[in-house]
């Protein structure tokens, strides 16, 4: 049975005990998917699952209070966010049903857009989209374009270590084998630049920032919502000015508040309307947390996140002797 049919059957079976199931549905055009909130059986047919289902639906788990019992459809990376939310007790295990899926990688629409632009085509004119066989087949302005998935796949998928949901109540399809190695080569290559070059890089990137907070809103672990310190007047961490300091400092807030929690799902970067490589900041923190505490967020339910705990004698922290 195809994965989608299996998933639909599982949701149909579990829906009566749930207030809502969050999955993916068709978006405003054939290239886009959009979160789908299933509340009755009729909606189940609108469900979609393919490499265009990019959203991390765990983001919506914390938006409905603690009283509702919610089902969530997750890929491997998304499931880590759910696990991290459970680890931090931001979501109760009794109130969430996880529909796990195997995933071989999702498309990066930014890459699709650039590939089409190189061919002189406009991503807005995509009329039909088909996926499968490791290809993305698009009909644009009457022409058929075939893009290999390996070229338009999101960067995070190339280094994916968790193709299958790490925690699930139901699992549709057969697990994907294999586990890529992630040696944080991107962070290392960025850090081969001088400090001045790095600062200049961020200067150029942050100049484009419009402070829309899409990065924060898409983040599954940013759960403060209306109480985000970036928008509070007292304490006034960030002013209303649109200077680079303010824009950059907001990213510092986001990064530091995710230290040891971030599962590197890349939603911040994907949601960014001006393509600022925000994941780099979080990857750097992820790398250091891995080195210091041998911890990867959202992989084991019972472990306490490292910054919420301590050891009297730390294993890897050199006491700063002077």
């Amino acid at each position: 049975m195809p994965v989608l049919d299996e998933l639909k059957a599982q949701i149909a079976r579990r829906l009566p005990e749930l207030d809502m199931v969050i999955g993916w549905g068709h978006g405003y055009d054939s290239l886009h998917r959009t979160p789908l909130f299933i509340e009755n059986e009729a909606d189940i047919d609108k469900l979609v699952f393919d490499p265009l289902c990019v959203h991390n639906l765990a983001t919506y788990l914390t938006r409905h209070g603690n009283a509702k019992k919610i089902g969530v459809v997750v890929k491997g990376c998304d499931s880590r966010s759910v696990v991290e939310l459970l680890q931090e007790k931001l979501v109760s295990r009794d109130n969430v049903v996880i529909f796990g899926l195997p995933c071989e990688g999702v498309a990066d629409l930014g890459k699709v857009k650039r590939a089409l632009t190189d061919l002189g085509l406009d991503i807005g004119r995509v009329r039909e989209t088909a996926t499968g066989g490791g290809k993305l087949t698009l009909t644009v302005s009457g022409k058929e374009v075939v893009l290999p998935m390996s070229e338009v796949m999101a960067d995070k998928c190339g280094r994916c270590r968790y193709h299958n949901a790490v925690l699930h109540d139901e699992f549709a399809g057969t697990p994907v084998e294999g586990q890529a190695k992630d040696a944080y080569a991107d962070v290392a290559s960025f850090e081969s630049q001088t400090l001045e070059e790095r600062m200049e890089f961020w200067r150029e990137q942050m100049e484009r920032c419009v402070r829309c907070y899409a990065c924060r809103n898409a983040c599954p672990l940013c759960v403060c919502r209306d109480y985000c310190i970036a928008q509070s007047r007292d304490p006034g961490w960030v002013s209303q000015r649109d200077g680079l300091e303010e824009k950059f400092f907001f990213q510092m807030i986001h990064a530091m508040h995710l230290a040891g929690r971030c599962t590197e799902c890349g939603e911040c970067e994907r949601a960014c309307p001006v393509d600022i490589p925000l994941l780099l900041l979080k990857r750097k923190l992820g790398k250091e947390i891995k080195d210091l505490f041998d911890y990867s967020a959202g992989t084991e339910l019972e472990i306490k996140p490292p910054l919420l705990a301590f050891k009297v004698e730390e294993d890897n922290i050199n006491e700063r002797g002077w």
Binding site: V187, F190, E191, L195, E196, E197, R198, M199, E200, F201, W202, R203, M206, E207, W237, G243, L244, E245, F248, F249, M252, I253, A255, M256, A259, G260, L280, L281, K284, L285, E288, I289, D291, L292, F293, P306, L307, A309, F310, K311, V312, E314, I317, E319, R320, W322
Partner: protein, 155 residues
């Protein structure tokens, strides 16, 4: 020594602030670049305090608390140690030298150690020079960008 630089110190009330006081009472000669902010505990220090200070233009930030096992609140400095170590390792990615931020432990009786810490850290910052700021030349850059869009910008 060359021109005074801007160094901010976050000190815990019980040990390091006392240590700095001891150094003062003992009339130990210290560089004057450091501005001290007193906090109840090193566990009170949000890594964002340090980042805000550095992005705001301070040339260096020093954090000091009670020695491990000596925290007035038993475990505040253990949490601080983890957070501050993560922060220290984070700094290079945003183009700030790791040496601009240090954390250490000084007890209330260690006046001489405090003198040593302040002197060493101040020398370190002087060696690094003024901090580079992300907002530098922001207006000039915006105008240059505007010109590429052929928008009229009043001089």
């Amino acid at each position: 020594m060359d021109k005074e630089m801007r160094i901010v110190g976050f000190l815990c009330n019980w040990c390091s602030y006392g240590g700095a006081d001891t150094a003062g009472v003992g009339r130990f000669l210290q560089p004057t670049d450091l501005r001290i902010i007193r906090l109840p505990c090193s566990g009170r220090i949000d890594p964002l305090f340090v980042l805000k200070t550095l992005i705001g233009g301070a040339d260096g930030v020093l954090v000091s608390g009670c020695h491990p096992r000596d925290c007035h609140y038993s475990e505040g400095n253990y949490y601080a140690r983890r957070r501050l170590e993560v922060l220290k390792r984070f700094l290079p990615v945003i183009g700030i030298d790791q040496g601009r931020f240090e954390y250490t432990w000084v007890s209330a009786s260690e006046g001489q150690r405090w003198q040593h810490v302040v002197t060493t850290f101040t020398n370190q910052i002087h060696a690094l020079g003024p901090i580079q700021r992300i907002g530098k030349d922001a207006q000039a850059r915006a105008c240059a960008f505007g010109r590429t869009l052929e928008v009229d910008i009043p001089a």
